[in-house]
């Protein structure tokens, strides 16, 4: 049983995360309908782009950051078996992030920050938006400090013992996030806020874009690592078995930390302000990040197979039928991995140095990242919520079957939504348009796909509402949760004689620093020794 602060902190963080998610889900559905052009009365570029901006910020920054903080507090308290360090500080961080979110929401919802979630200078949003986002991130840094201190204290009290795997993953994610958020942090602090407040007249969009991509790719792994933690630490036990390899899991987390950071330039392949050689270097490193992901897939599938065989599963593929399909955590893991495989192949195309030209900024890209983010990541967030909500609130989950239906509808909806997106991308439809105005025969081929996207969107919205309903209904469930203990999986081989450098986060941070210096050092410095011309602010 966890202490009150841990439970309250997790519940409140999850509450904010999932409220943001629900609001954003409605916007997402509106967007596919508006974009289809089938309902002319809905067409409005102003509303559409305000909605796209809000949807992106709510899903990518608010849902993720608050969910990860809530999950982190639970992980730290239960895996390390110690109370949260300085709960007052934790609440202050939560408050700061929430205040920032509200501050950013005001201009977003009133159409004063329609710069999408990637900011796009020299289009200038209200300064409230940039300040709000900065405070949201600053609040999450408080969480980072608490996580680091707790890990450090545990290590001091348990010399020589390996950090519990769930906390090892969380610690890797904390360092990943601190490194990741530094890029956009510098952009917002030194460029966007002074510029939007009128303290400086111009901004260099090339430098801004370079700083932003520093954050843009690793941030995806910040969102994804909690999903991986659940796959390693909850799924094997939920399936009725054991974790195949604790040691490889550690290397996978370290691989993500080291390789996801210096690779952002594949988002800049089509940009003029960075030279080909740097793009190629980042491209090579981008492929390296596939390695920890493929190792994770292997370990999770192996753990699932072991569990199934322990439960009587037989044959080369026969064990699949004997999996614990009725367990939301197991179901979510299988569906998440399916979408991760498909999304991963799309990612290989995006990361390919020359192939990228074909799909850059087309509908392919949102198709790809919805598979990875809304598919793999968010579906695991659902499963974690179903798993933890009863343990946090003390009330049993109201209905297991509803949870299974919710996960399946999410999977089918995401497939219906993202498949046409991929096809449309290959047919050349740009992303980020609110209507198709090009009077061209080529664009007629785009139309039939819009219908599938509306169906997918409707299914996803239904699934999102069902998720909210299950959590709220469970809060009023009269039957209490019987098993309040955390449910971490045991590894087949406990981590023994691990070399000390694996657990030494200092070493890994030094390695990351070296990589970052090589991959971003000169590309950022060039803006200070080139003769560059800044750009003046523009409205939307």
């Amino acid at each position: 049983m966890t202490d009150t602060h841990t439970r309250q902190l997790s519940i409140w963080n999850f509450g904010v995360a999932f409220s943001a998610f629900l609001i954003a889900a409605f916007m997402g559905f509106y967007q596919v309908v508006e974009r289809s052009g089938i309902f002319p009365a809905l067409e409005s570029a102003k509303v559409y782009f305000a909605s796209v901006s809000s949807h992106g910020v709510l899903m990518a920054y608010v849902l993720t950051t608050f969910f990860i903080m809530g999950f982190g507090y639970y992980t730290a308290a239960t895996a390390l078996q110690r109370p949260i360090w300085k709960p007052v500080l934790a609440w202050a961080g939560f408050g700061l992030s929430l205040f920032g979110t509200v501050l950013a929401a005001i201009p977003l919802l009133t159409g004063k920050a329609s710069v999408l979630y990637t900011f796009y200078p020299p289009i200038q949003a209200s300064s409230l938006f940039y300040i709000g986002v900065a405070l949201l991130v600053a609040g999450s840094w408080v969480w980072c400090v608490i996580m680091i201190v707790m890990t450090h204290q545990w290590q001091k009290e348990n010399p020589g013992r390996p950090i519990p795997l769930a906390m090892f993953g969380t610690a890797a994610n904390v360092f990943l996030w601190l490194w990741t958020s530094a890029g956009v942090g510098m952009e917002v602090l030194f460029q966007l806020i002074p510029w939007s407040l009128g303290w400086r007249d111009t901004v260099d969009p090339g430098l801004a874009r370079t700083l932003f991509v520093w954050t843009l790719h690793p941030i995806v792994y910040f969102w994804l690592i909690p999903a991986y933690i659940a796959m390693y630490c909850f799924v094997p036990r939920a399936a009725g078995g054991y974790l195949f390899s604790d040691e490889m899991a550690r290397f996978a987390f370290l691989g993500l930390l080291v390789f996801s950071l210096p690779i952002g330039f594949h988002h800049l392949y089509m940009d003029p302000e960075q030279a080909a050689g740097w793009k190629l270097l980042h491209g090579i490193l981008t492929f390296m990040v596939a390695v920890p992901t493929l190792i994770t897939g292997f370990t999770v599938f192996a753990s699932l197979e072991i569990a199934s065989r322990l439960n009587g599963g037989r044959g080369l593929l026969g064990w699949i039928g004997r999996l614990a399909w009725g367990n939301p955590m197991v179901l979510a893991a299988v569906l998440a991995l399916l979408m991760l495989i498909l999304g991963g192949f799309g990612g290989i195309v995006n990361a390919s140095y020359a192939l990228n030209a074909m799909v850059h900024n087309t509908a392919w890209v949102p198709g790809h990242f919805h598979l990875i983010f809304a598919g793999t990541t968010v579906i695991m967030y659902f499963a974690i919520a179903y798993h933890l909500w009863p343990r946090l609130t003390g009330k049993a989950l109201c209905n297991n079957n509803l949870a299974l239906i919710q996960l399946w509808t999410w999977f089918v909806g995401m497939t219906l939504l993202s498949t046409p997106w991929h096809v449309l991308g290959l047919l050349g439809q740009p992303r980020r348009i609110s209507s198709v105005t090009y009077h061209s025969l080529l664009t007629l081929a785009w139309q039939p796909y819009e219908l599938f996207m509306i169906m997918g969107g409707a299914l996803l919205l239904g699934s999102a509402v069902l998720f909210g309903y299950i959590l709220l209904k469970s809060l009023r469930n009269p039957s209490p949760q019987v098993d309040l203990e955390p449910n971490y999986a045991d590894p087949i081989h406990p981590p023994r004689d691990m070399p000390a450098w694996v657990e030494n986060m200092k070493i890994w941070n030094v390695i990351v620093a070296g990589f970052m210096l090589v991959s971003f050092g000169i590309p950022i410095l060039q803006f200070f020794f080139l003769k560059t011309y800044d750009s003046v602010p523009w409205g939307y």
Binding site: F49, S114, L116, Y120, P121, P122, I123, D204, P205, G206, R209, F244, S245, E247, M270, P272, E273, A275, K279, G283, I284, F287, M288, V291, I295, T299, I348, Y353, A354, N356, A357, M358, H360, N361, T362, L427, G428, P430, R432, V436, T437, Y438, H439, S440, L441, L442, T443, H493, D497, M498, L530, K531, T532, Y533, D534, S535, V536, W538, G539, Y540
Partner: protein, 174 residues
């Protein structure tokens, strides 16, 4: 430390796959010399009209003495200038772009003509169009509320027909 033999095999497969993909990329990069548009050339976007290359009179399609074609275009909210161009098929064509205001992206569906147009920088890309026909040349980066309406029309003509109509060297399109 304990690494399962199966796991070891899988790691070799993964590393092999990664090497294969990278091999493919190195091959197209170094053998076919295919690169993304990356010329790191700066320009003052606010003074484009005073520049030699991107002044209004200078925009459009130019036939070079060596037979290649150069296209000078400007992106600004909400259009590409010139609004219409006609190009020959099967001919190397070099596009040079500058933005007069915000970020834009230019893309012709079903071709690999794609580049971002970032204010302060000149984007350059060389490509060939094998298939004659009408193509929308559209903005694929959010540039403001009129973004949807930002597009030009490109007609790709069969090479001989285009050459007959554009016999002059170095002049702009009429």
């Amino acid at each position: 430390m304990h690494i399962d033999p199966l796991e070891k095999k899988w790691i070799y497969i993964v590393l092999g796959m990664t090497a294969l993909f990278l091999g493919g990329i190195f091959f197209t990069t170094f053998v076919f010399d295919i690169h993304p548009p990356s010329n790191v050339e700066t320009i003052d976007s606010a003074r484009l009209h005073l520049s030699e290359e991107f002044a209004e009179d200078n925009l459009g399609v130019k036939r070079q003495p060596d037979g290649t074609i150069k296209v000078i275009m400007v992106a600004g909210r909400y259009g590409f200038f010139p609004r219409r161009i006609t190009l020959p098929a099967d001919t190397p064509i070099t596009f040079r772009w500058a933005s007069i205001d915000v970020l834009h992206g230019v893309h012709m569906p079903m071709t690999n003509m794609s580049t971002m147009v970032v204010p302060g920088y000149v984007s350059e890309i060389t490509t060939e169009f094998p298939k004659p026909g009408d193509y929308p040349m559209l903005c694929n980066e959010y540039c403001g509320l009129g973004h949807d309406f930002m597009w030009s029309k490109v007609t790709v003509e069969e090479k001989q027909a285009w050459m007959r109509r554009h016999p002059n060297f170095g002049g702009g399109e009429s």
